[in-house]
């Protein structure tokens, strides 16, 4: 094709796009993505490959390798592959053996883990139960000062009676201990190496037991990892994994379409057609292990009034949000428990849209047009600002005096810390344990990060369910808590979206709902000719 022709074509395409967002970089993403029309792409490439290297592009770079010093999703995509946990949560959402081959609860508070034999650290040292004990204790050691010191507060003490056995005593019955061990904080680090090298050296040159070994890292450019040939779970299907940081959406997609990278993370729903329309690429998604909610400051009138909050929920047309803003890539929640979690009640219908009833409840609740503010960031969670504007319109339709205010990301973090939100704000609680305790109760419990509303019965049940090993009792407790929740709406749940990835068609890989990027043998295969 002559240069002039496609120049004109692309220019016309680019010019036709209306850049509506004020932000320069967001504008760039929209513009570029829109101009990457499916018809305009490079010809189809083979759907098999001879590559021995997997290149992954994510939206931001990692910051640290020491897994006990970060909980950010960019970091855990790497740390869960450099390191292993005793228990491993697979993309199917279930717990599987990791560095522990089996575990058992004795009585109410004593858990015994059988530690996998014959596992070696990347430097060749043998892994033992003593490493696991030291590693877990390191998370709360004030001298180390990790960023995950609150993950294992239910543990009383740990013993490693022999190299193959680990005994964990909890302060009270903790049904979720294996789940806690499967997420952040639970990555096992090498005692001998860390003690010898020190925390800084360990962070710079991490050693784990995971399927990949650290090779090199150039900040904001590329991280190179190589396959661990002796991995206990089997050597992975590629020799190297390269992680690149491509912050802008449009170039990230362009690099996938051009075949420079094999996998991209954070694929926005409105760009999926571009990836699916290309002959050599595809989209894989997982229903996010969590919800996108408008959290409510229930201490501020009129948001202390349950009828007003019920009206807020009834006035949101969630189906329209899923269809229009998410292109169908999400589901309407039915309460505070994410689909896929323990005790999710499949019989409970999705949250209802009924503007007539919303008006009625506002009237009954004595709402007098007080201003209700949604504080939103732009892009902290996907679609946060567009959803805020849509909801503002829906609320105004039923007579709610709604206002949208935009916050910068770090101001939001500050307000979150100070608990100083004016009304409602976006939160994307991750279900860290695959259980309501790791989401609703973690955030909404007394003293929790979103403690803006209290209800004695809700508190009593949440506390009892946390420390009960009787699943029947827990199921009943969460059912009753959901009922109370749906009367008081400490959160107004809006959507449970899909987390989508763009892949070359030769990459066979299943995303994990909790943003871990699992590249173990059971989950990654490159289709070869």
């Amino acid at each position: 094709m002559p240069l002039t022709r496609f120049t004109l074509e692309a220019l016309t395409e680019a010019m036709m796009i209306q850049v509506t967002r004020r932000e320069l970089l967001k504008g760039a993403a929209a513009l570029g993505a829109a101009a990457t029309a499916p018809g305009a792409l490079t010809p189809a490439r083979a759907q098999t490959t001879q590559k021995r290297e997997l290149v992954v592009a994510q939206g931001g770079d990692i910051s640290k390798f020491d897994p006990h010093f970060s909980t950010s999703s960019n970091d855990i995509r790497v740390s869960f592959n450099l390191f292993d946990n005793l228990v491993s949560r697979h993309p199917d959402g279930k717990l599987h053996p990791g560095l522990a081959t089996e575990w058992k609860l004795h009585g109410q508070t004593q858990w015994t883990f059988k530690v996998r034999p014959g596992v070696k650290w990347h430097n060749g040292d043998p892994f033992t139960a003593a490493d696991a004990k030291w590693s877990l204790e390191r998370t709360w050691d004030p001298k180390v000062g990790t960023r995950v010191s609150t993950v294992f507060t239910t543990i009383d003490r740990i013993e490693a009676p022999d190299p193959a056995t680990l005994v964990v005593h909890t302060k009270k019955p903790d049904p979720l201990l294996p789940a806690r061990l499967a997420f952040y904080g639970g990555q096992i680090v090498p005692q001998k190496y860390v003690e010898k090298a020190g925390n800084d050296e360990f962070n710079a040159k991490p050693i784990g037991t995971g399927p990949v070994r650290f090779v090199s890292w150039t900040k904001d450019d590329r991280l190179v990892l190589e396959a661990n040939p002796d991995y206990w779970g089997g050597r992975i299907d590629v020799d190297r994994i390269v992680l690149r940081s491509i912050p802008e959406t449009a170039p990230r997609i362009a690099s996938l379409l051009k075949g420079e990278v094999d996998v991209i993370t954070q694929l926005p729903p409105d760009q999926e057609e571009r990836v699916m329309g290309n002959a050599s690429t595809k989209v894989e998604g997982a229903l996010y292990a969590g919800l996108y909610v408008l959290a409510v400051n229930g201490k501020r009138p009129p948001l202390d009034n349950p009828l007003v909050k019920q009206a807020l929920s009834l006035a949101i047309d969630r189906q329209a949000i899923v269809k229009e803003l998410w292109r169908g890539r999400g589901i309407v929640p039915n309460g505070p428990i994410a689909k896929g979690d323990n005790h999710f009640d499949a019989k409970l219908g999705p949250l209802v849209y009924n503007p007539g009833e919303a008006r009625e409840r506002l009237r009954k609740g004595g709402y007098r047009g007080e201003e209700i503010v949604i504080e939103t960031t732009v892009g902290y969670t996907a679609n946060d600002k567009p959803m805020s504007e849509a909801i503002q319109g829906m609320w105004r339709d039923v007579g709610i005096n709604a206002k949208v205010e935009v916050l910068e990301y770090s101001v939001r973090a500050q307000k979150n810390r100070d608990k100083s939100f004016k009304g409602l704000w976006w939160s994307d609680p991750t279900s860290t344990l695959g259980d309501p305790d790791g989401m609703m109760w973690r955030l909404l419990s007394p003293g929790g990060p979103q403690d803006y509303w209290r209800h004695p019965r809700f508190d009593e049940l949440g506390e009892a369910a946390r420390f009960s090993v009787d699943e029947k009792f827990r199921a009943e407790a969460y059912r009753e808590m959901t009922k109370i929740f749906l009367e008081h709406f400490p959160w107004v749940p809006v959507i449970q979206p899909y987390e989508d990835y763009g892949l070359q068609k030769y990459v066979e890989w299943t995303p994990n709902p909790n943003q871990q990027f699992e590249v173990r043998r059971f989950n990654l295969k490159l289709r070869r000719a």
Binding site: G27, A35, A40, S63, T150, S255, S410, R417
Partner: protein, 307 residues
């Protein structure tokens, strides 16, 4: 000798005051902008944990004390440890310096090598089609936002024509697109300033005299005109150089180029005070050094400036 000292001393003093002012302003503004600790810890971390980390980072001390420590350490070249990376801030910034210099210098050379002859030609051939085309393109270069040029470059030259990679740092092919994108604005500015500076000189009496006494036209342009038009060209070129080194945030973001601009922006979002302070400090020094070099060059180019 005394003349040189009298020329240099006030300029050096001004440069030092500027560096001190810039670093103080950055120090104060960063502290006013908020607390980095909420960004470091998981959202459910208790208050005691926040206080512990604040203490660990020295953020619990009064602002003047923090400033004193900052200044004393900065003088020794120690900018503290990055809160985000847990490494010395200077080492972090130094890691990005190579990429920034590589991109900035290429963009600058590209801009200067293209822009000065184009501006000169435009002026000499004033109102000709060459002038119209060149100045039209300069207008586009100056008015098109960098992200637009960058994304367009990726779509056309990387994705469709398959000439260059879409981004990242590597060999010269990785450098071409970002350097062109980044250099576009500078190129346009330098070309326009060159054109108007040359035009002004071409109207001067000594040029008329030179032509009248029969000096060849190319000699009139190169020797008599360009030398006398050099001051504004040197000024704009120098200033653009500083901007290219420090102001490449958008280009670096669009092309996933691991440079200091991107680092600085991310560090501002992360409230990583030490890295921001170090990056701004180094950028300020580069800018001031360039200004200083331009000042010196003025002295060489125009003897009147030495007085």
């Amino acid at each position: 000798m005394r003349g040189v000292f009298r020329f240099l001393a006030p300029r050096l003093l001004r440069a030092l005051i500027a560096v001190w002012l810039v670093s103080t302003v950055v120090f104060v503004v960063m502290r006013l902008s908020g607390d980095p600790v909420p960004l470091l810890l998981p959202p459910d971390a208790p208050r005691s944990e926040i206080f512990r980390v604040r203490r660990e980072l020295g953020l619990d001390r009064p602002l003047p004390a923090q400033y004193g420590v900052f200044l004393a350490n900065a003088l020794r070249g120690d900018f503290g440890r990055s809160i985000h990376f847990r490494e010395p801030a200077f080492a972090v910034v130094r890691g990005y310096l190579g990429a920034t210099v590589e991109l900035g210098l290429t963009a600058f050379l590209l801009a200067a090598i293209v822009a000065v002859p184009v501006g000169l030609l435009s002026a000499v051939k004033r109102n000709s089609p060459i002038d119209h085309v060149a100045m039209g393109m300069a207008l586009v270069g100056q008015s098109a936002p960098t992200f637009f040029l960058g994304i367009l470059g990726i779509l056309l030259l990387a994705l469709k024509a398959d000439l260059f990679p879409t981004g990242g740092r590597g060999d010269w092919t990785h450098l071409a697109l970002p350097a062109l994108t980044l250099g576009a604005f500078a190129m346009a500015s330098i070309a326009r300033v060159t054109r108007s500076a040359v035009l002004e000189v071409l109207r001067a009496d000594y040029i008329r005299t030179a032509r009248a006494k029969g000096v060849a036209e190319w000699l009139v342009v190169v020797k008599h005109t360009l030398k006398n038009a050099a001051l504004p060209i040197v000024t704009i070129t120098g200033l653009q150089f500083g901007t290219l080194l420090g102001g490449a945030v958008v280009t670096e973001t669009v092309f996933a180029w691991p440079g200091i601009g991107r680092l600085a922006i991310q560090s501002i979002y992360n409230r990583d005070y030490p890295v921001v302070q170090c990056a701004v400090f180094l950028s300020a020094i580069v800018f001031i050094m360039i200004n200083f070099a331009i000042d010196l060059l003025y002295g060489v180019l125009d003897p009147r400036a030495r007085r």
